[in-house]
């Protein structure tokens, strides 16, 4: 139990998936302009990450390892993730149209999101069990949502500031991310 808690805390703040591992940067900079969008995107990524981690870790532990074909993990994971995203999108569209309108456009973007594949690869590189993979994915998703919300709050204010012409938009967002990452370094050594 304490092991699971350590994995969770480490993933949410110490080894934050965006600021320490640099995964999922495209949505981090692309969708962090408005607070409401950031929240929907965070929830969508967390959901897909959870489902993808469960299925890839089942495949890894019960198919790839017993048959000694671990080297096939890249091809298999990317296909599983891409089809899962399609299925999740279909299910959400059929069952809950409000939810679909809120996060439907973000779902296709997640297919090529390196955070989802990255978490699946970390799970198999660390030889996590299925339960540990679920906790790891949940931690990563919550960490991603947390940082995305902080970032969008800052960027909403940044839009009003009068910054130099060449710094506007992405460059100043990178500098903000640098300060944010510096703040998160303070959590190092906690776990």
């Amino acid at each position: 139990m304490s092991n699971l808690f350590t994995i969770f805390i480490a993933m949410v703040i110490v080894n934050n998936i965006v600021l320490a591992k640099f995964l999922g940067l495209c949505p981090f900079f692309g969708v962090s302009k408005k607070l409401s969008n950031a929240f929907s995107m965070g929830i969508a990524v967390t959901l897909v990450m959870l489902i993808a981690s469960v299925s890839t870790s089942v495949i890894y532990n019960y198919i790839l390892v017993p048959y000694r074909v671990e080297f096939m993990n890249i091809v298999i994971y990317i296909l599983v993730i891409a089809s899962l995203v399609q299925i999740v999108e279909l299910i959400i569209r059929r069952t809950n149209i409000i939810l679909y309108n809120a996060m439907g456009i973000y779902l296709p973007l997640i297919t090529t999101n390196c955070a989802v594949l990255g978490i699946a690869l970390i799970n198999s590189a660390e030889n996590y069990s299925i339960l540990e993979s679920i906790v790891n994915a949940l931690g990563a998703g919550i960490g991603f949502t947390l940082v995305l919300i902080i970032m969008s709050g800052i960027r909403e204010k940044l839009d009003l500031a009068d910054s130099p012409k060449s710094m506007r938009g992405l460059p100043v967002a990178f500098l903000t991310a640098a300060l944010l990452a510096l703040a998160f370094i303070g959590f190092n050594g906690m776990v």
Binding site: L19, A20, K21, F22, L23, G24, L25, C26, F29, F71, M72, N73, I74, V75, I78, L79, A82, T112, N113, C114, L117, G118, L121, I122, A125, P164, K165, S166, M167, L170, P171, V172, A173, F174, L175, A177, A178, L179, A181, L182, I185
Partner: protein, 233 residues
Amino acid sequence: MSDHKDRSNSKQPQSCHPQKQYVEDNKKSSSRFWKELAKGIVISNPVFILTLGLCPTLAITNSITNALGMGAGVIFVLLCSNIMISSIRKATPPLVRIPVFIVIIATSVTILSLVFEAYLPPLYRSLGIYLPLVVVNCIILGRAEAFASKNSVLLSAADALGIGIGFTIALVIISLIREIIGTGSLEIFGRQLFKLPGLSTHPLLFFISPPGAFLVIGIMMALFRLIGVIKSE
């Protein structure tokens, strides 16, 4: 016939960046080869101008050895996937083209990671999960979709080389800055090139830590834009 098809396709809006220059271009293939090559390195540098493939750019530029390894890997995967996709472009049904591209790219990345694991184990270990993550690098799928699926094999190879070299140059520039300021010395594949007297005893570790990556890339982007703003005025 194929030439006509190229021209009609390149008029459509592209996802990555506009490619209008191909429309009038109808000369010998050798001169076009060099043109495609130069375009990828200078005019549409994937990192600084198009801001693609940011995840590996930030993660592995803490040393120049990693940057060169990642650059070589991306060039290999781009070449493999562009050549394969371009040679089967007429047999690929448009509806399932993205899954086909992804499988081809994932296969190339698997080959690459097996080769690195066998022949360059230290580099393989220091690149870690970022080597398999080349598969979701938007540069590679972007080139497959925007270029290789519409052009001949030779031009696709030139495009892959140009974009790959442009990406490597960007990685090397960033990692040079980070490694020299962050450690005070420069080391390529385990061999030390030089040591800065004051800096190597008191290095600014901030620059090889994650926040340093964000800072250096932010400043580089602002510099590139500043040059662009001055030129356009």
